[in-house]
């Protein structure tokens, strides 16, 4: 019951991130940054995404905003 509710909310958040992301901007980035932004779109985890990018969370968050990926929470 609880797990189903969370699964639905996760799916909804992922849909919003996918729809609003600036994919042209994301595709133009170097490989590590591009992979990290795509990970963020799919999972919404700022910490892990920043580690993939090799950036601090602060730096990655600013990149997230440039890529127009909303933080859905």
């Amino acid at each position: 019951m609880h797990l189903e509710k969370w699964r639905r909310l996760e799916e909804e958040a992922r849909r919003i991130r996918r729809e609003e992301a600036d994919w042209k901007f994301i595709e133009k980035q170097p490989p590590k940054i591009r992979a990290a932004l795509k990970y963020y779109v799919e999972v919404g985890d700022l910490y892990v995404a920043s580690r993939i990018a090799g950036l601090t969370i602060d730096e990655f968050n600013r990149l997230r905003i440039k890529a127009r990926i909303p933080n859905v929470a």
Binding site: H2, L3, W6, R7, L9, E10, E12, A13, I16, E20, V43, G44, D45, L46, Y47, V48, S50, T56, I57, D58, E59, N61, R62, R64, I65, R68, I69, P70, N71, V72, A73
Partner: protein
């Protein structure tokens, strides 16, 4: 007034909002783990945090080995439940401190909310996102507005955030009932 402990994803987003200082009226102090401090690099955010540390409205929280160990156990537990969004060490530290010391946990990580919903030993931990923080600021009239929607919209614009629509509607209805039009 309660104590709170903030993780990085909350603090970094919150620091981009023009009304960011309002949060200091809500808590005795907000603890910031050392792991969070290491993640902040932008001049404006560092200045804001430093200023708040000087005023004593933010305080540094140094993680002890036993807190770190319990947080690692929590990370493992969160990864062992299918569907549950795993938590990482920074949020796990905040949840452990929330459970042990009764601090309100400030985070935008949905995994932290899931933990308090699913794991019995974390049920009593209060987790607030920007949604709950803003709602409480309005309820306590620390933010005054004719229409709460405007405040939430402003936060979304300035931090590039999206509140889940269903939850936002519930919160706004509740605020309108409780507070009415606050000029």
């Amino acid at each position: 007034m309660d104590f709170a402990i903030a993780d990085t994803c909350f603090l970094i987003d919150w620091s981009l909002w023009r009304r960011r200082d309002a949060i200091f009226e809500l808590f005795k102090t907000i603890f910031v783990p050392e792991t969070v401090m290491r993640e902040v690099v932008s001049a404006d955010t560092i200045e804001w945090i430093t200023d708040a540390l000087i005023k004593g409205v933010l305080s540094l929280f140094t993680e002890t080995p036993d807190i770190l160990e319990e947080a690692r156990v929590l990370v493992e537990k969160s990864r062992s439940i299918p569907v549950l969004r795993g938590v990482d060490l920074p949020e796990a530290i905040c949840l452990v401190v929330g459970r042990r010391r009764g601090y309100i946990v400030l985070t935008e990580n949905r995994g932290a909310l899931m933990i308090t919903d699913i794991l019995e030993e974390y049920r009593k931990v209060k987790v607030w996102r920007a949604l709950e923080v803003i709602a409480n600021l309005i309820k306590k009239r620390l933010l005054r507005t004719r229409d709460p929607t405007e405040i939430f919209n402003e936060y979304e614009r300035e931090t590039y955030h999206r509140f889940p629509r269903g939850e936002l509607e519930v919160v706004i209805d509740e605020l309108r009932r409780e507070v009415g039009e606050v000029a």
